[in-house]
């Protein structure tokens, strides 16, 4: 291969690695993205212009055309999409990548596949490409709701796995016999597509991110295979990177929603869709975890902490003070909003916070702070419930109707830490938890805040 091209590929590969690396850290992520993109651009440009054989201009024009259209559409989609709709878009793109791989396979197949080795790569390229394509499409459909949630295929696990085996067998047969028949290839392609569908269809919407990440790493592998086919380093390594990174990522995600990857791969995704467990009387809640909460606060410019009885029960007064100090050091402006009846005795929160030497000047009374919530980036509600229950305003039938409360729902983001969805002293539901702006950080206050603090320290 042309030497300068090799060098270009070399650089591109390195840029991929570095880019990926930087993507793993909030502060460098943006650069990482740029670096990777640059490398990609380089690789593409290089491929087009550097080669030691003649290429008719028509083809150049076509390529140019293809790239143009692709870039424009892609760019538009990316910039038009709403924040909330991004995951499904990713899934869509991923599908495209897969299909592209499959198509390449088809072409190469048509040009007779040389030795078995090549044949294997081609065939697997086609299958994997196909699977990722159809799979991603389904995922996309599910996410944007056009495909209504769970479709239950009886025994889908067995069915799927049997089918998969079938497909593989078929592939092996084709390679070994070395038959070269468009129809069969078509069949192969089709079966790949079908499997993709079968694989994703039974999975609940909540698990889609995991699926996408998995399919994504599949695409990577497809790319790598194509790389082998052309013994093209940038494709090979790039593909492998995505493949391995993708797997790790998938595992991480599974951990996040405590599943095992095994369970994931062998179809025990199952119909149950973790989100749908939550009772829906007031809509659904959004769970979060310490590290996400930490990031939210780290990048907020002001935070208000709302302590409640739970803070006392957990004896988390020292941790919350540490959190406050830490945020303040990071330049976040932190205050405590003290509700007159928070806790179980008058001044309960005062006793508690005095114990950990929270500066009195940071404790703000309800009357004074209620007006400030609307300009607040993040409110952290710790073990408080009734005192932030909007029912006091909205629901005349409620026992706390008429009681003045802290109007946290005016804030931009709300993090609520409590152990369960249980009610507080007044024993009533709290619609705040189901508010769109609210995320729930479940767990004992002391434990949750402690990990929140250490997450913050690592930023």
């Amino acid at each position: 291969m042309n030497i300068s091209l090799s060098i270009i590929y070399l650089i591109a590969t390195v840029s991929f690695i570095v880019g990926l690396k930087k993507l793993g850290n909030p502060t460098t992520a943006k650069n990482g993205n740029l670096i990777a993109a640059a490398g990609m651009g380089l690789a593409i440009a290089g491929t087009i212009f550097i080669h030691d054989f003649e290429v008719p201009p028509l083809i150049y024009i076509l390529i140019g055309l293809a790239i143009l259209t692709g870039s424009i559409i892609g760019g538009l989609m990316a910039f038009k999409v709403k924040m909330t709709k991004m995951p499904e878009l990713v899934s869509l793109f991923n599908g495209f990548g897969g299909s592209s791989a499959a198509l390449i396979g088809l072409v190469e197949f048509s040009r007779d596949a040389g030795d078995k080795m090549q044949a294997t790569t081609i065939v697997s390229g086609i299958i994997i490409g196909a699977i990722t394509f159809s799979g991603s499409m389904i995922a996309w459909g599910k996410l944007n709701g056009s495909l209504k949630s769970v479709v239950n295929i009886p025994y889908h696990n067995i069915v799927n796995n049997l089918f998969l085996i079938g497909v593989i067998a078929f592939a092996v047969f084709m390679v070994s016999t070395g038959v070269n028949d468009q129809v069969l290839v078509g069949a192969l392609l089709a079966s790949g597509l079908i499997y993709g569908i079968l694989f994703v269809l039974p999975i609940g919407g909540a698990d889609m991110p995991v699926v996408i990440s998995l399919l994504n790493s599949l695409t990577g592998i497809a790319a790598a295979i194509t790389g082998v086919l052309y013994s093209n380093m940038v494709m090979l390594i790039g593909g492998i990177l995505v493949g391995s990174a993708g797997i790790i990522l998938t595992i991480a995600m599974c951990k996040g929603m405590n599943r095992t990857l095994g369970a994931v791969i062998f179809g025990s995704f199952g119909g149950t869709d973790s989100a749908s467990d939550e009772d829906r009387r007031l809509g659904s809640i959004k769970k979060t975890n310490p590290s996400d909460s930490a990031i939210m606060m780290n990048y907020a410019s002001n935070v208000i902490i709302v302590p409640g009885y739970g803070l006392a029960v957990a004896q988390a007064q020292h941790v919350i003070h540490e959190l406050e100090e830490l945020l303040t050091k990071k330049g976040v402006d932190v205050k405590y909003a003290i509700h007159p009846v928070a806790g179980r005795m008058p001044g309960h929160m005062n006793v508690l916070l005095a114990e950990s030497n929270v500066d009195y000047s940071l404790l703000v009374e309800m009357e004074d702070i209620n007006s400030q919530f609307k300009n607040t980036d993040v409110v952290l509600v710790v073990g408080a419930n009734d005192v932030v229950n909007p029912a006091a305003h909205n629901d005349p039938s409620s026992p706390i109707y008429g009681m003045p409360i802290l109007d946290v729902e005016n804030a931009k983001h709300i993090i609520v830490n409590k152990r369960t969805m249980n009610a507080g002293y007044a024993g009533i539901e709290n619609e705040l938890f189901y508010n769109d702006k609210t995320v729930m950080l479940f767990g004992d206050a002391k434990a949750a805040l402690t990990s929140l603090v250490s997450e913050l320290k690592n930023m």
């Binding site: 009885y309 006392a312 029960v313 004896q315 007159p340 009846v341 806790g343 179980r344 005795m345 008058p346 001044g347 309960h348 006793v351 005095a354 114990e355 009734d386 006091a392 026992p399 706390i400 109707y401 008429g402 009681m403 002293y425 007044a426």
Partner: protein, 365 residues
Amino acid sequence: MIIGILKETQKGEKRVSISPGIAKKLTDKGFEVVVEKDAGAYSAYKNSDYIDAAARVEKRELVFKDSQMLIKINPFNEEDLKLVNKEHVLISHLYHKSRPELIKKIAAKGASAFSMDAVPRISRAQDMDVLSSQSNLAGYKSVILGAYEMKKIFPLMMTAAGTIKPARVLIFGVGVAGLQAIATARRLGAMVKATDIRPETKEQVESLGAKFIVVEGANGESEDGYAKEASEDYIRRQKEAVNKSLYKADLVITTAGIPGKKSPLLITKEQVLNMKNGAVIIDLAAAQGGNCEISQLNKTVTLNGVKVIGTSIAPESVSTNASELYAKNMYNFIKHLTKDTNLKWDIEEQITDETLIVHNGTIRK
């Protein structure tokens, strides 16, 4: 409407029901306020402070004569009632459950009367809940009183002249007062234990870093947040559970009460005899009969080295704060009862319903 603020006459009482600050708020809202001369003297409020608040300062008779609504803290007594007529709306503690004869007398006058101790224990009523606001202060002060009376200090101290063991404090009854007592004692470094008939108080006690003494089979909870009377058997099991701690205690504070009933007897004379020489018992329930057999209201009895102090009026000793809070409660209550300076008499509404004991001479409760 004209609101009359009476000077407290009960001995030892230092509070006043409306502070100058609140008087101002009332006059701003359009009420006329008449204050009895020197009503605020013991809470460090001068008559001039009230005048600055656009209130009038008059002598007793005139206050009764001029005003439609009469406010004081302690129940209206014989003297007061002499001057009451059927136009009057009286607001004060009435303890109607335990003092029916007083209620009858008021009714006889054809007047109306609200009882502040009848404010329901519902969340939205908390800002009118004088019991809470006052017993909270009582809880704090009882510990200070204890620390003052004790021959020992509270905190653990390891010094060159030897180690002083931390004081052991035992709290009976973990209501508002009890909780605040726990918090205050803990702050001073004492080792605090507490017990209560309502099981949910365990978590509350622990939320203040103190230990809870569990009495097997405690089940005194009643829906409205109050306790009901304890069974013979419970009292027995309670003694078994607490005695070990009681006999080691340096300071004991009892706050146990059952609303409208005589407060439960939790410490017998015989138990006192087994206590440490130099120990102190503060019986905050003395006014309702007391939790300690030998305690007497506003007296200090000493029995084999154990000081037993019966008091209900701890809050007065912090009269300034106590009056501020009481006044704020009153203000919220009045605001709740009135619409542009006139009474609403909205008897359906829970708080009005439960606090209005006598209505134009007819006894409602």
